[in-house]
Amino acid sequence: MSVLVDEDTRVVVQGITGGEGKFHARQMMEYGTNVVAGAVPGKGGQDVDGVPVYDTVDQAVEEEDADTSVIFVPPAFAGDAIFEALDTDLDLAVAITEGIPTQDMAKVNKRLTETDTRLIGPNCPGLITPGESKLGILPGNIFESGNVGLVSRSGTLTYQVVDSLTQRGIGQTTAIGIGGDPIIGTSFIDALELFENDPETEAIVMCGEIGGEDEEQAAAYIDEHVDTPVAGFIAGRTAPPGKRMGHAGAIVSGSGTGTAESKINALNDAGVPVGDTPEEVADHIEEFL
């Protein structure tokens, strides 16, 4: 079992003729992902490794029955590309692009309330159901199929934690990178709800970081609605207030919210143990299983 993505997922890659798009479309196909089409304006009629390219997402859906889009479009055009995906009745759109202007994402956020398509990202590594399908840029070889769900704001931190799990023989149902930007589609709470309702997922890892209040809200949600055991990790304990640590969202205002401490406390209060190191997160998950 899995959430959001499985071997039947039919993927259109927006931006498949670009450097990143081409490379990762290949990587996805090598992993076994069912990439059925590409969509690049002006490149309709071409193909990439036998995958037909269309001018619009709409055509890709019509001709190849795509139900999911993975977006590798440069930041200046990515907001528009997400709108296009949302306008095509796809089940899922995954925006990998980093550096989309925040005001563009505010408009996307509004549009999301008007469609049934789920957005993951932007500025995220994507998601993977090990052994079935991988959407995005995650290194497939570190994942193993199993019964732990993982949701994370940070790409490389996801890899680190998954590696700790897999090394101990603990596999994953689905791992979802939701992205570290200030405005994103799928939130921690959305992902937690999906894992809670997935019968195969027996434990959940939630990786957060400083900035914003998403982890605090997720902690309140876990307290009320999640019976599956959750272990957490929060990056940025040593970050000084007022400094932006890479992710636009990873800035601590200094006003007491958004700090690693407030997030760890909120999670602990909700019964979620938070590891001091990625290995400790794996220890907690091992105890749960």
């Binding site: 202007p101 956020n109 549009r111 840029i137 790409g155 490389t156 006003s255």
Partner: protein, 382 residues
């Protein structure tokens, strides 16, 4: 990217927001000439990117030429919280009866812009937000339509602004929103918005932060960026190299890929008893030359006693990283500081084969790499 006050004021004035008459000056003679032209009294304000300039002595009032000379002498060339003051804004001192606050920012929780108005202006608005949140009226804006005129009025009336002022303040708020939207602002604020005895409002300060990710479509603001740069020499170098870099106080240099993983590496250095010297994210897909630049950055910090490299490749490839490390280190007769490397993920095995182990210490796990780097840094202190 944060604009200097004089830059933000120019942007505001061009859009029609009333601002005091002002001139930029970089020496005492310039200050006196500007003050003469504007007419005393004037405020002389250091143009550096730090908050609390007034308290730190960076803003002074001058009633006459003698006071202006004294103020200019004191402020020009001063060190204001680590920033060298090379320019001041000489500004008409506004005779005011009241101070308001207006601001626009992105509410990340709601994923929407929010306009804010408060009659408690002229003070640290963050403190007001924390201690008396109801003293700030907030109005969320649908970004697809922009701020409607009624919303500006509503925010102003909700804040309890006097009726005589409501029209002027809501006009400023509307203009500020339009500017924020047009210029890809992340924050746009006026604090204080001064009220004069004849009920005019005037922007006595101006804050404008621009979304760095949107600078590609704000060419005239991007040009201002060069001017606005300043501060830590190493952070300037990081800008040139295009790194996300933050300098810290410790002695263990840290290089990694991906913000979350680099922060985690910092946290682990702290956890194992060391002190992080910096945050340095080489980003996704870094090639060899970028890795070499990262090492150059960290070696340029005199505080650094050891370096830990933590790369978990997704887009980034271990062989490229290894090449970059070799390239950077082979140019030294003697390696300046010990370097510990941990490679995982995409092409890590290829990377390990390439990596010149005479130059670095290799560890297999993140925990071992961090502990080793902390040990190296400590050995220096013994």
């Amino acid at each position: 990217m944060k604009l200097h006050e004089y830059q933000a004021k120019q942007v505001f004035a061009d859009a029609g927001i009333p601002t005091p008459e002002s001139k930029l000056a970089s020496d005492v003679d310039g200050v006196l000439a500007a003050a003469e032209e504007i007419g005393y009294p004037v405020a002389i304000k250091a143009q550096v990117q730090v908050g609390g300039r007034g308290k730190a002595g960076g803003i002074k009032l001058a009633e006459d030429e003698e006071e202006a000379r004294e103020a200019a002498d004191a402020i020009l060339g001063m060190d204001l919280k680590g920033y060298y003051v090379d320019r001041v804004l000489v500004e008409q001192a506004v005779d005011f009866t009241d101070e308001l606050y207006v601001g626009i920012t992105m509410d990340r929780g709601e994923g929407k812009p929010v306009a804010m108005v408060s009659t408690k202006g002229g003070v640290n608005i963050e403190e007001v937000a924390e201690e008396d949140p109801d003293a700030i009226a907030r109005e969320h804006v649908d970004p697809s339509f922009g701020m409607m005129p009624y919303q500006a009025r509503k925010a102003v009336y909700d804040a309890g602004v006097d009726c005589d002022l409501a029209r002027g303040v809501s006009s400023v708020l509307s203009t500020l929103y339009d500017l924020w939207e047009e210029k890809d602002g992340s924050d746009a604020e006026i604090n204080p918005l001064m009220v004069t005895s004849d009920d005019e409002v005037i922007a006595a300060d101006a804050v404008m932060n621009i979304d760095e990710d949107a600078l590609f479509r704000q060419p005239e603001l991007a040009e201002m960026e060069e001017e606005a740069a300043g501060g830590d020499e190493l952070e300037q170098k990081a800008d040139e190299y295009g790194f996300d870099y933050v300098r810290l106080e410790g002695n263990t240099g840290i290089i990694g890929n991906g913000a979350g993983l680099v922060m985690t590496t910092l946290d682990l250095v702290d956890y194992y008893g060391g002190e992080p010297a910096n945050f340095l994210d080489v980003g996704g897909g870094a090639k060899a030359d970028r890795i070499a630049n990262a090492l150059d950055m960290v070696f340029s910090d005199d505080n650094v006693e050891s370096v830990v490299f933590n790369i978990f490749g997704g887009i980034t490839r271990g062989d490229e990283v290894a090449k970059g490390i070799n390239e950077a280190l082979e140019q030294f007769d003697e390696i300046p500081k010990p370097v510990v490397v941990r490679l995982a993920g995409t092409n890590w095995e290829e990377g390990m084969e390439i990596l010149n182990e005479d130059l670095v210490t290799v560890e297999q796990t993140l925990e071992d790499a961090v502990q080793r780097a902390v040990e190296y840094a400590e050995e220096v202190n013994e």
